[in-house]
Amino acid sequence: MNRAMTGTGVLLLLALRRDRVAAPFWVLAVVALPVGTASAIAELYPDASQRLALGMTIMSNPALRALTGPVYDAASVGGLTAWRATNVAAVLAALMSAFLVVRHTRAEEESGRAELIGAAPVGRYALPTAAVLMSLLTNLVIAVLLTAGLMGQGLPVAGSLALAGAVAGVGLVFTGVAAVAAQVTTSARAANSIAVSVLGVFFLVRAAGDAAAVDAVSWLSPVGWAQRVRAFAGERWWLVALFAVVALVLLVGADLLARRRDLGGGLLAERRGRAVAAPWLRSPLALAWRLQRGPLATWAVAFAAVGAVFGSLAASVGDLVGGNEQIAAMLARLGGADALIDNFFAAQFHLFALVIGGYAVQAALRPRAEEIAGRAEPVLAAAVPRGRWLLGHVACSLAGSALILTVVGLAAGFAHGLRVGEPVRQAVRLLGAALAQVPAVWVSAAIAVLLFGFLPRAVAAAWAFLLVFAVLDLFGQLFQLDETVRMLSPYAHVPALPGGEPAAGPFVWLFLVAALVIGAGVAGFMRRDLAAD
């Protein structure tokens, strides 16, 4: 180890200490999901015949395939576990790794803590090296615990090891992606968005490939490789090694980039700004819009692409059945190809709404980021009522999430409409279906506002709520959870559209809940102390 690395060990210990709450939480989530799935499947589908029937349903449901990928061995508990849990666990491992690396590199530099460390006898590359080691260590822990957990469910060693390797492998790849992102940007926020965008693109490529059953497309995505490791279904060990190779290439790339820049600087140069503010930049709402429009534009463009891809796939959904008579019969029972397409869209919009809930939460928590950074203080020390400042950001969250849903609905409808020869009609129809998700998304944002008003230190719980909603929605049925438990998710109250019966009741009271909860959050914020750094 050369001098540039001096102090890596100390920094690694520091990182371990700082992450003593966050890291175990993530590890637990990544490990518990597949193990819980294995246990649920063994319990709910004890016979091979039941499992094969489930596999049949999966094959006939492209919406499900888009979310979870193909099933390789429906007969075994392990095969179904790999089908159901690999993707979600891999995505969680990727997010965990990316946030972890950025937190310990770029965020440190940004906050100036890295300068303090840089002044101590610590080498130049010690900080990123320690961050990467911390991530590798965490993924290793995940791999070990996950293998043990699956074996504990009575699953074969090889498959358990392969599934764990696939999940941790995606974690490794995103350790590398985040290490590169942290070098090319100058803010933790930007580095995180790059890593999350890369993950989003890979997920989408895989989802599109799997939904349309075009295997070659799925192979373009490392997220797609995870399932193609074929845990419990004739493992492809070389793919696990491929993850490590890709991660290594990315880390070497990050290292080369690190040698070319100064502490605090980035490779993407900062552009100069205006010397005088635009005339419209004169209210708290204008400031919130100015700060939030960039991320919103990114989300809107991304979901325009997502909508177009899924919309253009939808018409093929009926073809997937192919020559399989059993599936064709099941399809007829469900109402034919049109019903299948509606079902596909309804399931996709539900999934999109959960993801767009992430946008709404993030935007609604922007005031907290402003408060912690000390940027709320000068604004609230000017003639700005607290409520108006907060509601400016909340407005961006609510209007922004509605806009993203509008974009995805129109894009999906138009793309699907072009294929079936009625672009305008389908665009309008699917716009309505997408907008039906608005109130549920707004409830997610409202929870964030409530936490900000009363428990500002615990705003991260807004993400936990969203995660719980997602688990209830995506796994509730599979786990055969009680209806009342599943209905705890606001998203579960949105009628399945298009195709289902639109009912006004849930909308009215979801809006009411959102409005009341936001009102309470604002009232709490009006009274409380502003955080001092």
């Binding site: 100069r272 010397a275 960039g294």
Partner: protein, 298 residues
């Protein structure tokens, strides 16, 4: 509340969990004066300013700012005052110029001529992105926004930390200009020289309590003057005189610290002892400050 008080704080307390940040703080800032708010790190200066701005709630005691309640009347008051935080952070994606204009407009508008003049005098580049400024430059942005707003009251929290000496001189000029224009300024600082150079009156705060308050002259009055004298003979009674401390005798040269109220009597004794040479030094704020901290520390 008397017409001539811009800020009135009476028995203010504030706790953060087990930390008592303010312990019955009293502070009065007269309209039109530059008031120094002096204390070491952690004394409670920032906490007091944040309460005056309605950003925090005091636990007990009374606070009036420009005749209003800092929390209930916050918006109306904030049109009439400007605040420069101790640690300025700017928006990474906004330029410094945009931040200045925005903060000025949110307060009710700023004078573009004064802004342009200050940008020039502080040698500030307003077109850079917020994330690329040094601490000193971020401080300048907040100062320019506050100083070009033409408000009645300026609350400045250690505004020169991070400024280089050249810019500090510009800052001092600006403060004197503002005072001439009739503004009231509360300047929190731990820099004695700065307070001495700029302030009409000073309140010294320690552990969340005002330990001393008054004009510099009054505060000096409370303290000892260093006296060094060359005498033809040293009278034995010197050490026993009231108000004489730390007497040192080297040959016929004596050095001592004398309480202000006994200075005249001591000088009479010295004159009677054949005074050949005399130096009297008024206490610097530094000494005054150190005395306060030493007495209570021991």
């Amino acid at each position: 509340m008397p017409e001539d008080s811009a800020v009135l704080v009476d028995g203010l307390t504030k706790r953060f969990g087990r930390v008592h940040a303010l312990n019955g703080l009293d502070l009065e800032v007269h309209t039109g004066e530059v008031h120094g708010f002096l204390g070491p790190n952690g004394a409670g200066k920032t906490t007091a300013l944040r309460i005056m701005l309605g950003l925090l709630h005091g636990d007990e005691g009374r606070v009036e700012v420009l005749g209003g309640h800092p929390f209930r009347d916050a918006v109306a008051l904030h049109r009439r005052l400007a605040y420069v935080p101790g640690d300025v952070t700017l928006w990474p994606t906004l330029s410094g110029g945009e931040a200045i204009d925005l903060l000025g407009r949110l307060r009710g508008g700023l004078d573009p001529r004064r802004r342009a003049e200050l940008v020039d005098r502080f040698d500030f580049d307003p077109a850079k992105k917020g994330s690329t400024y040094s601490k000193g430059n971020r401080q300048k942005a907040a100062l320019i926004a506050a100083l070009s707003s033409g408000v009645e009251l300026l609350l400045l929290d250690e505004p020169t930390a991070g400024l280089d000496p050249l810019m500090e001189a510009v800052f001092r000029e600006c403060i004197l200009e503002e005072r001439r224009a009739g503004r009231t300024i509360l300047l929190s600082s731990h820099l004695l020289a700065e307070v001495e150079a700029l302030c009409d009156r000073v309140t010294i705060i320690r552990d969340g309590r005002a330990v001393e308050s008054g004009t510099l002259a009054q505060l000096r009055h409370l303290t000892r003057t260093s006296v060094t004298a060359d005498l033809s003979s040293v009278p034995d009674s010197l050490g026993g005189l009231p108000g004489v401390h730390d007497l040192t005798v080297t040959g016929t040269r004596v050095g001592m610290e004398v309480d202000a109220e006994h200075l005249a009597a001591v000088l009479r004794v010295l004159t009677g002892a054949g005074l050949l040479g005399l130096t009297c030094q008024p206490p610097t704020l530094e000494q005054l400050f150190l005395r306060h901290y030493q007495t209570t520390a021991s």
